[in-house]
């Protein structure tokens, strides 16, 4: 029995989530802003129709947004994560295997039905269920390989002949060539800027041309990556589903500040907060860090000379103990701080990660096994409290109590599915 891969993803996912539990915004133009209310990262279909550009800094569009009565929202990650979890749980029941690729995207493996093998009707039923039971619009692309499923998904979402249906299956096409020819080379999944530019220069302008170009030439230029892309376009599966995400090699937490930071104390508080979050992630992943990096930068827009810098340190022993990591991090923050260089962003990267099972004994371990066990129990207790009662319930004093640098989220919608006091009202 032959199998197929489906790529299912949310249309305007963040903007769509905003409308699920808020009837007042249904059918109205709405945009969602990035961290810190900086740029537009998601637009409802109505906002898109008004020609509001993606990625534009919102301050440049203020008057245009007001004139059209566009609803503006900050990113409500709690809501999007909850909706994503619901979406993925539903998709699990529709496919044999699911690879969650991002917050609103997943690849599914499924069997083709006997006969024509066409899965368009399956895709339509899936789409209908998600639309009506979760309230989210999705697009479905179906093909033999991941790269082709990406192409199919793009057609399902953008092509005027297929947009209404929202499902495109290459198996339903007698001839896939015109569809591949209509896919620009830059839009082929995973091609990268350099390779697509090289293709353009050689006159290879679309997916069909890439599929049919001489193998030898492609291998010389792009090695195995190029060959894989070409074979995937030919319908030969080279990129299997990764059902289990690979172990993470590094963990990063960084944010922009709502107001520039100009004191060393405030920078240390911010960096300490990011470190605490990163360390919690690390423990959840069952890992330790061997080294860590702190980075800072000023705003490229504020007129003063741009300043960006980073500092890295190696830990004597890999650790995931917040206190140990903090002790290594704070001197770095101090070292990076410059008076008269207001900072707009900072972050912490934990690197050189290893599973906790690896390390146990070391001549230089400063703690007895009993001490180690008690530290681990403390971390577990802190993580448990923060999980149960909300992040920040228990925190290290280094993070500060009333930070001035906290992320700006001036247009946040309610945590309608995750906080009891934010549950929407049904009028009776």
């Amino acid at each position: 029995m032959s199998t197929a891969l489906a790529l299912i993803d949310g249309n305007n996912f963040y903007a769509s989530c905003e409308a699920v539990l808020d009837p007042a915004v249904v059918g109205r133009p709405l945009v969602v802003l990035s961290n810190n209310d900086g740029c537009i990262v998601s637009r409802s279909a109505e906002a898109r129709a008004l020609g509001i550009p993606m990625g534009a800094p919102v301050f440049q569009l203020r008057s245009e947004l007001e004139r059209h009565g566009v609803i503006v929202r900050s990113s409500n990650y709690g809501l999007y994560a909850d909706m994503s979890q619901r979406l993925m749980a539903t998709l699990e029941t529709w496919v044999e295997e699911l690879e969650i690729y991002s917050i609103d995207e997943a690849f599914g493996l499924l069997h083709r039905p006997a006969g024509s093998g066409d899965l368009t009707a399956w895709g339509e039923a899936l789409r209908h269920q998600i639309r009506h039971q979760l309230g989210l619009p999705v697009a479905v692309g179906i093909a033999p390989t991941k790269v082709l499923a990406k192409v199919a998904n793009r057609i399902a979402k953008r092509d005027p002949r297929w947009r209404e249906r929202g499902v495109f299956d290459f198996a339903a096409m007698a001839d896939p060539d015109p569809w591949l020819a209509a896919t620009a080379i830059e839009d082929v999944w995973g091609i990268g800027r350099q390779l697509s530019r090289w293709c353009r220069l050689r006159g290879i302008a679309d997916a069909r041309a890439l599929r049919d170009m001489p193998v030898g030439e492609l291998r010389r230029r792009a090695g195995v990556v190029g060959l894989r892309l070409q074979q995937e376009l030919q319908g030969r599966r080279c990129l299997p589903l990764a059902a289990v995400p690979p172990a993470k090699r590094e963990t990063c937490v960084s944010r922009s500040f709502s107001t520039p930071i100009s004191t060393a104390a405030a920078l240390k508080e911010a960096v300490a907060t990011y470190l605490c979050r990163a360390a919690e992630k690390l423990r959840r992943q069952g890992q330790r860090a061997g080294s860590l990096t702190v980075f800072v930068r000023s705003s490229p827009f504020d007129g003063t000379a741009f300043y960006a810098n980073a500092a890295t340190t190696t830990l004597p022993l890999p650790s995931n103990d917040t206190a140990v990591l903090l002790a290594a991090t704070l001197p770095l923050a101090e070292r990076l701080f410059r008076p008269h260089k207001p900072l707009r962003k900072a972050g912490v990267i934990l690197q050189d990660l290893s599973p906790i099972t690896l390390l146990q004994h070391h001549l230089l371990v400063p703690q007895t096994p009993e001490q180690q066990r008690r530290r681990a129990a403390l971390m577990e207790a802190v993580d448990g409290l923060n999980r149960r009662y909300g992040s920040g319930t228990v925190q290290w004093a280094a993070c500060g109590l009333a930070p001035v640098w906290r992320m700006r989220r001036g247009h946040l919608s309610r945590a309608a599915t995750t906080r009891l006091s934010d549950v929407p009202v049904a009028w009776a």
Binding site: L21, P23, A24, V26, Q85, R86, A89, T90, Q129, H132, Q133, L134, G135, T417, L420, V423, P424, V425, A426, W427, A428
Partner: protein
């Protein structure tokens, strides 16, 4: 010969799980807060939490949540020929036609709390 002892209480560790009882399908269930007293006749009061299942198909006579242009409303669904009516359980409130609105979900439980 000693008499067999009566079997003890049900095995420990299997306490009643309200979550599973009230919300068997959490991915397609939403909680809403009731605002207003038009459904007191059906035992639903202002301030109650209601469990709304979005995957259930609403039938005649069921309590439903409908999405109207300006918000959610909780009423009893009544089929009247071709028309879908939203009927209150309180004499002071008028009956609405669903019209452009959307049948959004079926109310399966209402949770009243008597001490905050």
């Amino acid at each position: 010969m000693p008499e067999a002892l009566p079997s003890p209480a049900p095995r420990p560790g299997s306490a009643i799980d309200l979550q599973r009882l009230l919300i068997p399908d959490p991915d397609r269930t939403v909680l809403l807060r009731v605002g207003g007293d038009s459904m007191v006749g059906a035992g639903i009061h202002h301030g109650d939490l209601v469990v709304v299942e979005r995957h259930k198909v609403a039938r005649d006579g069921q309590l439903v949540v409908a999405r109207l242009a300006d918000g959610f409303t909780l009423k009893r669904l009544v089929l009247c020929g071709e028309r879908l009516l939203l009927v209150a359980a309180h004499p002071a409130y008028p009956t609405l036609a669903l019209g452009e609105g959307e049948l959004w979900g079926v109310v399966t439980h209402a949770i009243s709390s008597f001490s905050p």
